[in-house]
Symmetry: C2
Subunit: 128 residues, 2 copies
Amino acid sequence: MDQSLIFENAHLYVEKEASEIPWLKIFTKEPYKELGDVPKELRLQLFEVFDIIEDEMKKYYNPTKINMASFANMLPRVHLHVMARFENDSYFPNPMWGEKLRDAVLELPDEKEFYKRVAIALKQFSPG
Amino acid sequence: MDQSLIFENAHLYVEKEASEIPWLKIFTKEPYKELGDVPKELRLQLFEVFDIIEDEMKKYYNPTKINMASFANMLPRVHLHVMARFENDSYFPNPMWGEKLRDAVLELPDEKEFYKRVAIALKQFSPG
């Protein structure tokens, strides 16, 4: 079993990124180059899944800020990054792709419990 | 008149970022900290405006990739970045916040014409 997989339904899946911060990535199963290439209904579902993950991140981690991004420059396949940022993380206030500012050691609650909550919330949204 | 303002309606406005690449920023007039704090209808409008800008960027510049991001870590006020990326721009394939890889001199079509097209497309979407 792929340890990075947090959730999947017929059209989407959610993976975790290995990082000091809580960081999830939402992929469509069918690959698309740009967000505008994703069929409208699936694009709305993608942003619904983002909303749910953002909400769970806020409730569980109480982060300084949520960050969202869609780049896929190396491999042009649309996916959304969702990141919980903390004022004492290694890059804040820079984006996670920016200059590292310090060697942070974050003390965060158990990530396994967070992934469980995300999976439950996404299953309620999308039982299929 | 603010030279960076490309479009506004009752709820949103679009500004250009000074950059070597085509780069626009979409703000809600009412400030919100996180995307999930933006009322649902306005959040959908925000992503509609993103879709329209992405589409105009693709048609006018034929970029290698479109990038989108929402950070607002310095000043926690939601806005969406929309960037047209080129394989020979100064940072590609890194995000624009990442490590600079070369000193690019891009030869792009007239940006004034692009802003005009964006404004026309957004007015058609949102005549109000």
